[in-house]
Amino acid sequence: MDWISPRRLNRLGMLNMNRRNVDYIARYNERSSYPFVDNKLKTKLAVAEYGVKTPKLLQVVRQQHEISHFREMAEGLEGFAIKPAKGSGGKGITVITGRDNEEYIKASSARVDAPYLERHLTNILAGLYSLAGTPDVAIVENLVESAPSLARYSFQGVPDIRIVVFQGYPVMAMLRLATTASDGKANLHQGAVGVGLDIGSGKSLNAVQYNRPITLHPDTGLALENIEIEAWGEMLEMASRCYEATGLGYMGVDLVVDATEGPLLLELNARPGLAIQMANGRGLLPRLRSIESLKRLHFTPQERADFAMRTFAAL
């Protein structure tokens, strides 16, 4: 067994689960703000007012009987994503990328029929994927077409960018790439690859899968060293804006880069995981503390993003 001593972790400034829960989530996240992030529909509406774009909303299924309209609506569509509004960790998200006569093709290239999707909608409404098991609504969104520069790194899934935002300051970021192991999903604990991104430049730092450092993507075989995210400053500012929209002091902002629409907000997370630190090879604590010690917080998202790029750049 291989262990790391708590002293070394402290030196690295690694944020741990207990401290995250007690010192950051409990202290900086108001309970009343949680519905904004725990409900994707509310998130969409809240951030829209602050000029943060999200994938186009096609349909909201609130009642069992509305499911019949789903088939009519889906008739003319090539690709779309069905999501439970209160789902967490990507649970219950079904992505349809194409059609083959009566069958729909999932992102994993499995073929499913319309009754399968209707059953899925029923499950979502019953609250199978919702956080507290409460009844839920299903939202159908336009399929995100990932920008080709990033899409080639990911296997069968849309790569997304997770940015941890603390009191409106983007403090750490990573690119999440789907793999065969993760079944097209971008969740690190399911086997997705996490690539740490330099806050200052949007360039990749290093990469991990299952918490182990890697240099090549396990499926595509591409080197993960020289990835660079375009329009980086704009993305950080967008993430920063979500703070005004929700009031959450500590959150994870998940963004995608759409081929035509540019950066879009996928979802917000009030309890972002800790694996981002491993992808970056750096602990979060020094950055969080430097913001906590600021005498006056910057007022605009622009200023905060600039401050973060200056202060937290890897050099």
């Binding site: 690295l12 009754p115 029923t122 090879g281």
Partner: protein
């Protein structure tokens, strides 16, 4: 943004823990509730036997019995004497056992039995008013002799105690002078001592004590001298002048009260037999709080049915403590927060191995059936409801099969909370679909591991004993759980998880 000081919180937690522990210690000292199970305490069973010859008239036999002898606590008393009326009469600190009968003849035997617990903290009752000295009139030439002896004793002493010691020494045969020989005859020695002390202004009296030795019969009382030093009665050995009540000496009679009065009988005499018994300390304690009135603080006042329920309920905080520790400090992943506690409670009733087998069997069969249910495309609520009914069928089936095969364990499956099992099956199957079998295995074994740890703690005899007899200890447990809620350090599992960070250090 709540950045309040945590000092009040820590003080509150400290108070909780301190209150819990000090209450427990107080009750241990005050009521003698033992810390450990199976602790044994010695108890002396003393039997006084009164013999007399009745003279064919109404009989009243009155025996002095001790109420609170120094160094002992009276636990129980009873009389055995067929055909006699019996009662204990208490008059100004003087307790007497009285037997009465209308008309009797021939030799009679009466028994009085009492149990005494050695208790070093028990003090004898202090006299309310200062005892007065009795003036004694001496005739010459005794008067001169007494005066001279007292004079000599007074010269060599400074306090009533030392005066008494000196006097006893002067009265011993080997130190006797002419004066003392004049006074002392063997039969009046003690009486004389008491008179002389009273004469010199020190209140004095005699007391009868019983030397406690295991399995002795036909013992008689030994007489001791007691003087009053202004605060309490002090006991002296009248021969050796040794001060204090020797260990294992039970003072049966103190003061001027007579030991035995028999009206309507001749040749009366008292003899004693005794036996050293051991009684579980807990039983002793429960017998005592009935008498001390502190019983309202314990669960023993409740009906037995409620008691056994509380025995179970009071174990739950221990399980919660284990779960909190395992999740917060160790970082074991479990499915559901308190499912492990509920499984552990079920284990306590089924015992571990049969419970484990039954639980795994029910969950495994349930998972298979859930697979079929999900293909039926049902709404969640009806699926869970169906699952609960299925779980009841499974447990009923297992019970019947187990019973037919001659295992009692089948019956105990029913202790598992059905709803919990149904939810477990549901969550596990969702987890299986979404995260794969590996995650199910991790969380399932995590839950079972925590449940087994909680079970081991909860089923320990000491845990059951302490939680039931010292319910205030739960305040300390509460304090510990609150403290753990403030733990912001690394979990043990995180030290493993973050190991790859070594590269960047």
């Amino acid at each position: 943004m709540t950045n309040r000081s945590r000092l009040p919180f820590y003080i509150a937690v400290l108070l909780l823990i301190a209150t819990g522990i000090s209450l427990a210690i107080w009750r241990h000292i005050e009521l003698g509730i033992p810390w450990l199970t199976g602790e044994q305490r010695p108890v002396w069973m003393v039997e006084a036997r009164v013999d007399f010859d009745a003279t064919n008239e109404s009989v009243l036999a009155s025996l002095k019995v001790p109420g609170q002898p120094p160094g002992f606590r009276l636990l129980s008393e009873q009389a055995a004497s067929p055909g006699y009326g019996f009662s204990i009469i208490e008059k100004s600190g003087n307790r007497r056992a009285e037997w009465t009968k209308r008309s009797v003849s021939g030799p009679q035997t009466l028994y009085f039995k009492a149990q005494f617990v050695p208790d070093t903290t028990a003090k004898s009752v202090l006299p309310i008013t200062t005892p007065e000295t009795r003036r004694v009139f001496w005739e010459e030439p005794q008067a001169t002799a007494v005066r001279e002896i007292l004079e000599r004793a007074r010269e060599r002493s400074s306090t009533p105690e030392s005066m008494t010691r000196e006097l006893i020494r002067l009265m011993q045969p080997d130190t006797r002078t002419q004066n003392t020989t004049l006074l002392v005859a063997e039969e009046n020695y003690l009486e004389l001592l008491v008179d002389m002390l009273n004469h010199s202004g020190i209140p004095a009296r005699t007391a009868d004590g019983l030397k406690l030795e295991d399995a002795r019969r036909r013992q008689s009382l030994m007489t001791f001298l007691q003087i009053y030093d202004g605060q309490q009665w002090l006991t002296f050995d009248p021969q050796s002048a040794e001060q204090g009540v020797p260990e294992n000496l039970l003072l049966w009679r103190e003061g001027s009260a007579s030991l035995l009065d028999v009206v309507g009988g001749d040749n009366s005499e008292v003899s004693f037999s005794m036996l050293r018994q051991t009684v579980p300390a807990l039983q002793l304690a429960t017998m005592q709080f009935e008498s001390t009135g502190l019983g309202f603080l314990s669960f023993y006042e409740l009906p037995i049915e409620e008691q056994s329920m509380f025995r179970m309920l009071l174990l739950l905080p221990l399980g919660a403590l284990v779960v909190a520790f395992m999740r917060i400090v160790i970082g074991v992943r479990t499915s559901g927060t308190f499912m492990p506690v509920l499984i552990a409670v079920a284990f306590v009733q089924t015992t571990l191995v049969p419970g484990l087998i039954a639980f795994l069997a029910v969950v495994a069969i349930g998972l298979l059936m859930r697979g079929y249910l999900s293909s039926l495309n049902l709404l969640l609520v009806s699926r869970i409801s169906a699952l609960i009914i299925l779980v009841i069928f499974i447990t009923a089936g297992l019970s019947i099969i187990g019973y037919q095969m001659g295992f009692n364990t089948g019956m105990t499956v029913t202790f598992f909370p059905m709803v919990i099992i149904a939810w477990t099956i549901e969550r596990m199957s969702i987890l299986w679909e979404e995260e794969g079998g590996r995650e199910v295995l991790v969380q399932g074994t995590g839950s079972l591991f925590v449940a087994i740890c909680a079970y081991l703690l909860m089923s320990a005899p000491l845990a059951g004993h302490l939680t039931f007899n010292f319910p205030e200890l739960h305040l300390a447990i509460l304090g510990l759980i609150l403290l753990m809620g403030q733990y912001t350090g690394y979990k043990l599992s995180e030290l493993k998880r973050f190991t790859p960070m070594k590269v960047y250090d």
